[in-house]
């Protein structure tokens, strides 16, 4: 993407870079200094999902990952069986 600098020589102000880096950094920091946060989220996810399907809790992974310019919540949840005839409650 370096050629872009030729077309637009004005770089993004460094304070915007700083702010964006901090935003991503603090998502990781806050989640990792409070491991119980991800643990508790994991519990809530299991509770929500098992209404609809049986899952393999031992193979379940819930993590934060960097994808490009954002942090995403990655949940890898092996499904054993989908329940039959569950109505989505409104």
């Amino acid at each position: 993407m370096d050629w872009l600098k030729f077309i637009n020589p004005r770089e993004e102000p460094s304070k915007d870079v700083a702010k964006e880096r901090l935003r991503l950094l603090l998502i990781h920091d806050r989640a990792s200094v409070a491991p119980q946060l991800l643990e508790s989220l994991r519990g809530d996810l299991i509770a929500a999902i098992t209404k609809y399907m049986d899952i393999d809790e031992s193979g379940m992974e819930v993590n934060l990952e960097n994808v490009g310019h954002s942090v995403v919540l990655m949940a890898n949840i092996p499904i054993r069986r989908v329940k039959r005839g569950v109505q989505a409650s409104l």
């Binding site: 102000p13 460094s14 304070k15 702010k19 880096r21 935003r23 806050r30 200094v33």
Partner: protein, 267 residues
């Protein structure tokens, strides 16, 4: 009336905790309040030097904690302010020489005689930090507008939160702001930092050579009427005393208008 205890803390070192403690304390004393400053940075004491009191130290915080002297004996009276006292840190011990319980007891004893007790915290999140916050009601978090300082401030705010400092017992001081860099887009501004940390703002102190000059002399800048940083600290002091004081204009610090305003004392 029982005095109130503030801890001045940051996470990262070198962002201005000691400078802020000395200036806010001196400023409060200049307005007639009784103030005790505690240097909790055991092993790296500095507050005595910033206040110009380094030659008067006999006893220190660890002597008091160990019962080797009475609290009164260890308190050093300031050379300018009648109602300002310093409890210095030991220079030869480490942070484990005092326990959080002992710190709390010392703070509580000081409440009887002083309106304000300010505890200058060491850098870090270890025992030195836990000691410094042990006896405090409110926390003043100091940061500079830089990525690493703001990151560490966020960590400290999290720790303060889990230690029971509620939202209205935490306040932020942004130190060493450079208006010219903010204008160029090369430094985060007040709103950026506040948006990230979401802590109520107590004040903004510009980066100012007069801080170094005043530290050289051991005379806090808050007493220097021509110092910009001193003005910022005077404003912080008035906010602590409950006054609503607008943020000072940090721009055009050497412009004619700014100099004129300072001359007539409304800057």
């Amino acid at each position: 009336m029982q005095g109130k205890v503030y801890v001045v803390t940051s996470g990262k070192g070198g962002v201005g905790k000691t400078t802020a403690t000395a200036n806010i304390g001196t400023g409060l004393a200049a307005l007639g309040r009784k103030v005790a400053l505690i240097d909790a940075d055991i092993g790296l004491r500095n507050l005595d030097v910033v206040l110009g009191l380094e030659n008067r130290i006999v006893y220190d915080l660890t002597h008091v904690a160990d019962g080797l002297c009475r609290l009164r004996q260890a308190l050093i009276r300031d050379k300018r302010m009648e109602h300002l006292y310093l409890l210095p840190a030991a220079q030869t011990k480490d942070k484990t020489a005092v326990s959080p319980d002992q710190m709390q007891a010392i703070c509580d004893e000081l409440r009887d005689d002083f309106d304000f007790i300010l505890v200058d915290s060491p850098a870090g999140i270890e025992q030195g930090f836990r000691n410094a916050i042990a006896g405090a009601d409110d926390a003043i978090i100091v940061t500079t507008p830089e990525v690493s300082a703001v990151r560490d401030a966020d960590r400290i705010i999290g720790l303060l939160e889990s230690a029971g400092f509620e939202q209205d017992h935490r306040m932020l001081v942004i130190n060493r702001l450079k208006p010219s860099m903010v204008r160029r887009g090369d430094m985060m501004d007040i709103d950026d930092v506040q948006e990230i940390l979401s802590v109520p703002l107590l004040g903004v102190v510009p980066d100012d050579e007069s801080i170094i000059v005043s530290t050289n002399r051991g005379d806090p800048a808050v007493l220097d009427q021509s110092s910009r940083a001193g003005q910022a600290f005077r404003n912080i002091v008035r906010r602590i005393l409950g006054e609503e004081v607008p943020l000072m204009d940090l721009n055009d610090q050497n412009g004619f208008l700014a100099r004129f305003r300072r001359l007539v004392g409304i800057g």
